[in-house]
Amino acid sequence: MIVELGHYALVLAFALTLIQSVVPVWGAVRENERLMAVAPPVSIAMFFLVLLSFTALTIAYLNSDFSVQNVWENSHSAKPLVYKITGVWGNHEGSLLLWALILVFFGALVGYFGTNLPAPLRAATLGVQGWVTAGFLLFMLSTSNPFNRIPNPPAEGNDLNPLLQDIGLAIHPPLLYVGYVGFSITFSFAVAALILGRIDAAWARWVRPWTLLAWCFLTLGISMGSYWAYYELGWGGWWFWDPVENASFMPWLAGTALLHSAIVMEKRDALKVWTILLAIFTFSLSLLGTFLVRSGVLTSVHAFATDPARGVFILVLLCLFIGGSLSLFAWRAPLLKQGGLFAPISREGALVFNNLFLTAACAAVLVGTLYPLALDAVTGEKISVGPPFFNLTFGPLMIPLLMAVPYGPILAWKRGDLLAASQRLYAAFGLSILLTLFTFWLWGMEKVLAPLGVGLAVWVMAGAVAEIVTRVKLTEVGLARGFARLKGLPGSAWGTATAHFGIGVTALGIVASSAFQEEKVLTMAPGDTVNVSGYAVTFDGAAPRQGPNYIEDVGHFTVRQAGVVIAELDPSKRLYPARQMPTTEAGIHTLILSQIYVSLGEPRDTGAIDVRIYYKPLITLIWIGTLFMALGAVFSMADRRLRVGAPKPAARRKAVPQAAPAE
C-alpha cells in the first residue's frame, strides 16, 4: 500500500504542477491577488507529495520489496543498509525522483520564506518552477516511472553497480543535485521577471541568496566528486575532464559569473542582459548535463539509462526551456535599459572582465565536451578531447582572471583608480614575489613555470586578506579599533574575501601537486623498498581477502621517514563477482596537507606486483580551498541584508523600514 500511495502522491503532484503552471502566472499577469495567493500553499503541498513519494520508494528499498521493478533492478536483500538507502538515487528513475524532490524543495522554500518578494514576482517564479517540475514529472511518469510493479516478484534483486557502493557516492549526488537543480530557481526568477517585465536592481537582490545557496552546494558537490575519483579510480588524478565532470563544471562556471553579475545589477542597475542570460544559461547547462548523462550519448558510471526514448524526451524538454526562455528574452530585451554608467576601470568593469573570462572558459569546456559528440554524430569519427585541449584553453583563461581577482573588490564603483588600488595591494604583491623567488630557489631551473603559479596563488590569497585589511583600515586605526571594525564588516564582505581566498588555496594545491609531485611506477617484489620524496615505502606482500560482496587482493605497505614508521597502507584491487567488475581502492596517507598515494596494478606470477606510488605535495589544499569557497557563500547568505523574510507577514511589514540596523 505504501508503494501505491507513493505512486499516487507522484501523480497528484504532477496534477498540482499543471495547476501551478497556469493559475498563479495568470494571476500575476492579471494582477489578481487571489489567483497569485494560490502559488505558495500549492508549492508546499507539492513538496510534501513528492517527499511522500520519495519516502515510499525508500521504504520499498529498505524492505527489499522486489514487487517494485526499480527495487528489483537495483537492490539486493544482502546489501548493507546504507547502500539500500543510497541505492534509491543510484539509478535512473530514483535519481530523477531526487531531481524532482529538489525542484519542489526549492519551490517550497520560495513559497514559505519568500514573503519579502512582491506577490506577482513570487507567483510567477513559482509558476515557472511549476513548468520545470511538470516537465520532469511527466518525463518520469511516461518513460521512467520508479513505481512500476511486478505482479509475481522474483525472490532476489540484481544488486547495485559496485562502483556506486561507496560512501562517497552516498553524499556526492545529493549535494551536486541541490546545486544543479538549485539553479532552477534562479532560472524561474529570471523567466518570471521577463514575463512581468520588471527587471531592476531589487530583483537582483531578491535572487542573490538563492544563487548563493545553489552555488554553495554545487561547489561542495563537485569537490566531493573530484575527491571520490581521486581515491577510487586509482590514477592519482583528481580531475579528468570527463564529459560528466564537465557537465557539472559548466553550470558552476556560469553560476559563478551569475553571482558576480547580479552584484553589479543590484548595486548599479547595470549588466541586466548579462545577469538574465547567465541565469538562463546556468540552468540550461544543468539540463544539458542531465541530457548528456541520461540519453546514453555518454557511457560512464553516471550513465544509468541508455534508452533513446528518454534521451529524446530530455532533448525536447531542453529545447523547450532554453528556446522558450530565450524567445521571452528576445521579446523583453527592449525593457532591459542600461542602468548606471561606468568607466572601464571600475568595480563594474572588473566584474565584466570576470564575466567575460568565466563565460569564455565555460564555452571552452562546452566545445571540448560537445565537439567529439557532434563529430561522432555527423561523420561517425570517434575522437577524444582530453586534458591537453582543456589545459591549453581553460588554463590560459584562468591566469589573467586570477591575476585580476584581488583588484575586483578593491576598485571603486563607477570610476576606479588602478594606481590607488595597486597601492593597497603592495603587500600582497610583495609577498607573492617573495614566495615565487623562494620556490624558484628551492627547485632551481628544473621547474620554471611552477614558481610563477605559486606566486599567482599566493597573490590571490594575500589579495583576499588585503581586501579585508584595507576595508577596516587596520594599518591606520590600529589593532584594537581595527578588530572592532572587522566584526562590523557585512557578511557579504567576509563572503567575498573567504571565497576568493579559497580560490587561491585551490590554485596553490593544483600548482603544487601537479608541478612538484613525485611519481614512481614500478614492479615491486615483497620486501622491496622505494624512495619517494624522502619517504621510504616498503612493500610487505599481498594477500587475497574476502569482503561481504567482493573479493580483493590487498597489498601491505609500510611508509618510513628516516627509519621511523609513519604509516601503513593497504591499497587493494577488488572484484565484484555479481557484475564481474573490478575496482581499485587507493591507499592514502595524509601528511598535514600533502599525501602519499599508493595504488595497485596487475599482480605478477612471482608474487611481485605493479605499483604506482605518488607523493603529492599540498594536494589536500585543492579540496580545502573549495570548503573556503562554500564557506564564503555561507557568510554571504548570513548577511542580514540578504536575509529572506520570515513567514510572518504582519510582523514583517513593520520590520522592513528598520531592517537596516547600524552594523
Binding site: L12, L16, V23, R34, V42, P154, A155, A202, P649, V656
Partner: protein, 379 residues
C-alpha cells in the same frame, strides 16, 4: 480500502491548498505590498552607502553620486505604486480556479493513477514474503527461504536434502550437485544420494558424464551392484568414451528383465540400437487387461462392460491390498474409481496409497499429483 481513504484524504488536501487561498478575501491592509518590497530594498541600499561612507570605503563625492542614483530608483518605485490603481478582481478566473481544484484535479489525478498504478497490488517486503504460510509461496520464494536458512545454518544436512532435488527440477543442476555434495558430507552417502549427485553433475555438464560424475556412479554401484540408475549412467559413459562393445554389454545387462514402462527403458533401447546392439524384447511385467479382454469389452453391452470394468478394478484393488504395488498401479486404481464416479472409494484408495508409500517422497508426489489432477482433496 485504507489506500483509497488515504488517496481521498491526499486529494482533498491538495484541493484545499488551491481552494483556501482562492476564497480568502484579503483586506487592503493584508495585501502583500508589491512596490513597497522594492522600496525597502532601495532604502537599505541608501543606509549601506551611509555605512560605507562612515567606514571610509567610498569618498563623499562617490557617496553623493550613488545616493542620487538610488534615490532616483526609489522615486520611480514610489511613483509606480502611486500610479497603480487597484484592479478589478475578475470573478471568472476565480470560478475557473475553484472548478479546477474541485473537479479537474481529482478527476485528472485519479484517472492518471488508475491508468498507471496497480492499486490492487499490496506491498511485498521480502521478509514478509518469506514468513508467509508455505502454501501461499511460490517455489522461488520457498527456495529463497531455504537458501536463507542454509546461509545461516550451512551444517543442516536435511535442509540440503530438501533443496537438492528442487534445484534439479528448477533447471539448476550446478546448485543441485553442490547441494547433494553437502548432503553426502553431512548425512553420509547412500546409493540414491551418490547417484543423484552424479546425475546432477552430468546434467550440469550438458549430459556428458565427467570423470567425477563417473566416480560417483561407480561408488553407488559399489554400494548396491543391482542399482539401475548408476548402471544406466555408467553405460552411457562407456558409450560416450567410445568403448562400444563394453557399452553394448552394459546396456544388455541393464535391459535384462527390465519393466518396459520405466521411463529410462526407451532411452536405453535407443542408445543400444545406436551403438549397433539388438534390444531384447521385453515381457509385460505389469499385469493389465489383455487384448482378448479388451476385444470382449468392446462387443459387450454397456451394463456388461461396466460390470467387467468394475470386476477388473476390484481385482486390482484386492491385489494391491494383499500384495502391494507400484505407485503407477495405485494411481491407476485411484483414477479408475474417480472415473467410475465413486469418490469415496477413490479417497479410500488414495489414503491407502499414501499409507503404503509413507516415507517415499517421490511416490507420494506422483500420487498427490494424480489426486490433484482428478480434483480429489489430498488429506
Amino acid at each position: 480500502m485504507l489506500l483509497w481513504i488515504l488517496i481521498a484524504a491526499m486529494t482533498a488536501a491538495a484541493s484545499l491548498a488551491i481552494l483556501v487561498p482562492l476564497s480568502r478575501r484579503r483586506t487592503a491592509d493584508q495585501q502583500t505590498p508589491t512596490p513597497a518590497a522594492d522600496e525597502a530594498v532601495y532604502r537599505q541600499q541608501l543606509d549601506e552607502i551611509d555605512r560605507d561612507l562612515e567606514r571610509g570605503l567610498i569618498d563623499r563625492t562617490a557617496a553623493d553620486a550613488a545616493r542620487t542614483e538610488i534615490a532616483r530608483r526609489l522615486l520611480a518605485a514610489n511613483e509606480r505604486r502611486e500610479a497603480e490603481a487597484p484592479r478589478h478582481q475578475s470573478t471568472v478566473s476565480l470560478r475557473t480556479g475553484q472548478a479546477l481544484a474541485i473537479l479537474a484535479l481529482p478527476a485528472f489525478a485519479l484517472g492518471l493513477y488508475i491508468f498507471l498504478g496497480s492499486p490492487n497490488l499490496p506491498d511485498q517486503p521480502l521478509s514478509a514474503r518469506l514468513e508467509a504460510p508455505t502454501e501461499n509461496q511460490t517455489v522461488e520464494e520457498l527456495v529463497a527461504r531455504v537458501e536463507r536458512h542454509l546461509a545461516d545454518n550451512p551444517e543442516d544436512g536435511q535442509g540440503w536434502a530438501v533443496i537438492a532435488p528442487v534445484y534439479m527440477s528448477l533447471g539448476n543442476p550446478q546448485a543441485s550437485a553442490r547441494a547433494y555434495a553437502n548432503v553426502i558430507r553431512l548425512l553420509g552417502p547412500t546409493v540414491e544420494r551418490v547417484t543423484d549427485m552424479g546425475e546432477a553433475m552430468t546434467m550440469a555438464n550438458d549430459g556428458i558424464v565427467s570423470a567425477s560424475a563417473r566416480s560417483a556412479f561407480e561408488r553407488a554401484v559399489g554400494m548396491d551392484p543391482t542399482a539401475v540408475k548408476p548402471r544406466f549412467f555408467l553405460a552411457l559413459a562407456l558409450g560416450q568414451e567410445g568403448k562400444t562393445d563394453e557399452a553394448i554389454a552394459a546396456w544388455e545387462t541393464l535391459l535384462e528383465g527390465a519393466d518396459p514402462r520405466e521411463p529410462w527403458v526407451p532411452v536405453a533401447r535407443a542408445e543400444l540400437e545406436r551403438l549397433g546392439g539388438t534390444p531384447p524384447t521385453l515381457a509385460e511385467t505389469l499385469r493389465g487387461p489383455s487384448r482378448e479382454d479388451m476385444d470382449a469389452a468392446a462387443q459387450m453391452s454397456a451394463e456388461d462392460r461396466q460390470a467387467m470394468i468394475a470386476g477388473m478394478v476390484e481385482g486390482l484393488a484386492a491385489r494391491l491390498q494383499s500384495e502391494g504395488g507400484s505407485p503407477a498401479e495405485w494411481q491407476r486404481l485411484v483414477r479408475a474409481y474417480a472415473v467410475m464416479g465413486e469418490p469415496d472409494k477413490a479417497h479410500a484408495a488414495l489414503r491407502q496409497a499414501r499409507d503404503a508409500f509413507g516415507t517415499d517422497q517421490a511416490a507420494l508426489g506422483q500420487i498427490n499429483a494424480t489426486a490433484r489432477e482428478l480434483g480429489l482433496t489430498v488429506p
